[in-house]
């Protein structure tokens, strides 16, 4: 089976060609360069860019894979959740192509695609469903932070989520408070590697609460108060790496401990990580150590599939097609608030 996948839920326009569970090509029009000029992600640029990028990105994905559009057997696209005008561009293009080519259309949940991306491994990535193990999955990015129990492929239950800010948002907003550039998370990660994580103590929100939920809004506020009480500290070359390391340690400890606790409580031997925050080296290291200690298998999504991309959308969409899931109506609307708890 050959299919085209399109992703346009937030800041990236991406297209991928999947053939028999393997990625033949994936093109991501990374816009970080445009955004850097503005000191933050600027979605309006992204929204406008989706329209401009979509056709060249799809064409490039087809050229790299060496296929003509007429050779496609199905089209997949992110139907939600996401920013409505951004989703609309990718989704309408996918619908039009499916209609014109008379092939099935599958609407994919963006968060669910992240959730299964730890099972997409190799170079080029392929879906390794045969290696699947029941697991606790942490999906953590700028817009999402949740824990899911995954019993079988496509059979998952959300057991906890952030009650306010996402972990990636906390990284970015703290980085902004520290006067770091964009993207804040990776810069903080780099500086944290040179700092002392015990130099300053920040609260570990909800760490000791008996649930699987997270909260990062208060941590951001406490960083702000701390910096107001210690003016000039974030401009100090010695203190800055220590600040980064200490803030990162607070975020990482909560994510690691609550994820490990969930796996032990549910008696599952595997933990998976996905989403942009899974690229954080401090987080990966802490998870490796904790999983070794508790004898858990750790499965991390490949770095190039952690940020938004169409390959994960296509690989998941193909699984739905293999399972004879009813295809999505050619006239179905985008689903900007599609919760993972709602059916496909």
């Amino acid at each position: 089976m050959r299919l085209l996948a399109i992703e346009s839920s937030c800041d990236e326009t991406s297209a991928a060609i999947i053939e028999d569970s393997s990625v033949r090509s994936v093109v991501v029009s990374s816009q970080i360069k445009i955004h850097a000029e503005y000191g933050g992600v600027v979605p309006e640029l992204a929204t406008r860019e989706h329209l401009a990028n979509l056709q060249p990105v799809v064409r490039e994905a087809l050229v790299q894979a060496g296929f003509a559009a007429s050779e496609l057997n199905a089209i997949c696209a992110t139907q939600g959740p996401g920013l409505p005008p951004a989703l609309m561009i990718g989704w309408k293009a996918a619908q039009s192509m499916a209609f014109a080519l008379k092939v099935p259309l599958i609407g994919v949940n963006h968060v669910e695609a992240h959730l299964y991306s730890p099972w997409f491994q190799g170079d080029p990535p392929r879906a390794c469903w045969e290696g699947f193990q029941p697991n606790i999955s942490l999906v953590s990015s700028g817009g999402h932070t949740l824990l899911a129990q995954v019993d079988h492929p496509l059979d998952h239950t959300i057991i906890g989520s952030t009650q306010d800010d996402a972990a990636g948002e906390c990284f970015d907003k703290c980085a902004k408070l520290l006067g770091l550039g964009y993207p804040g998370g990776p810069i903080m990660d780099r500086l944290a590697a040179q700092g002392n994580p015990e130099a300053y103590t920040f609260a570990r929100p909800m760490l000791n609460q008996d649930n699987h939920d997270f909260s990062f809004s208060g941590l951001k506020t406490s960083v702000r108060y701390f910096l107001e009480k210690h003016p000039g500290l974030s401009e100090d070359d010695v203190a800055l790496p220590d600040l980064c390391a200490s803030i990162q340690a607070a975020i990482v400890e909560v994510l690691v401990k609550k994820t490990i606790r969930a796996a032990r409580r549910q008696r599952l031997g595997c933990i998976t990580l996905s989403g942009g925050v899974a690229c954080n080296t401090g987080l990966r290291k802490a998870f490796q150590q904790a999983c070794e200690k508790h004898e858990l298998n750790l499965q991390v999504a490949p770095s190039n599939l952690c940020t938004d991309n169409a390959a994960m959308v296509g690989l998941l969409g193909e699984r739905y097609l293999q399972k004879a899931t009813p295809t999505t109506d050619w006239q179905a609307d985008i689903r900007p608030s599609w919760r993972l708890t709602e059916p496909a």
Binding site: V42, E44, R48, L83, P85, G142, D164, A166
Partner: protein
């Protein structure tokens, strides 16, 4: 302009809840205040007043989060947007005439015409737990 002093996050929630009791379709509430000023707490209170039970999560990255309650709540955040042009080309202008009510954080990024039924709110931190909340109904 009305001024209220909130002495706790709970008091800010209660204020939001009280506002929700008088909410009507098409109402837009714009919030202005620094990170940590209590904007999200006010939104959580409004959601509670509308009978919404699911957690109100930050729309900073996604820009818009929608919730079904007695009235539909559309929670927006302009934090990542810089000016009118970016707000317009992000396709967010329709939210100025919401189906239910729209609460927009960092609304000061928008300098264009006010929504017809509009309340402007400024939150300011005046003590560790104290917030000065000023609001004014200044619809176009």
């Amino acid at each position: 302009m009305d001024t209220i002093t909130s002495n706790s996050p709970e008091a800010t929630l209660a204020l939001g809840e009280q506002w929700a009791a008088t909410a009507r379709p098409g109402w837009v509430i714009g919030l202005e205040g620094d990170l940590g000023a209590g904007k999200t707490h006010l939104v959580k209170g409004i959601a509670r007043g509308l009978g919404i039970t699911e957690p109100i999560t930050s729309p900073t990255f996604t820009l818009v989060c929608e919730y079904e309650g007695r009235l539909k709540l559309e929670h927006l955040d302009f934090y990542r947007l810089e000016n009118d042009d970016q707000i317009l080309t992000s396709g967010l202008e329709p939210y100025f005439q919401p189906e239910g009510i729209a609460v927009i954080e960092w609304f000061n990024r928008w300098t264009g015409p006010r929504p017809a039924d509009y309340r402007h709110v400024t939150l300011e931190q005046t003590g560790e737990h104290e917030r000065l909340i000023r609001y004014e109904d200044i619809g176009a």
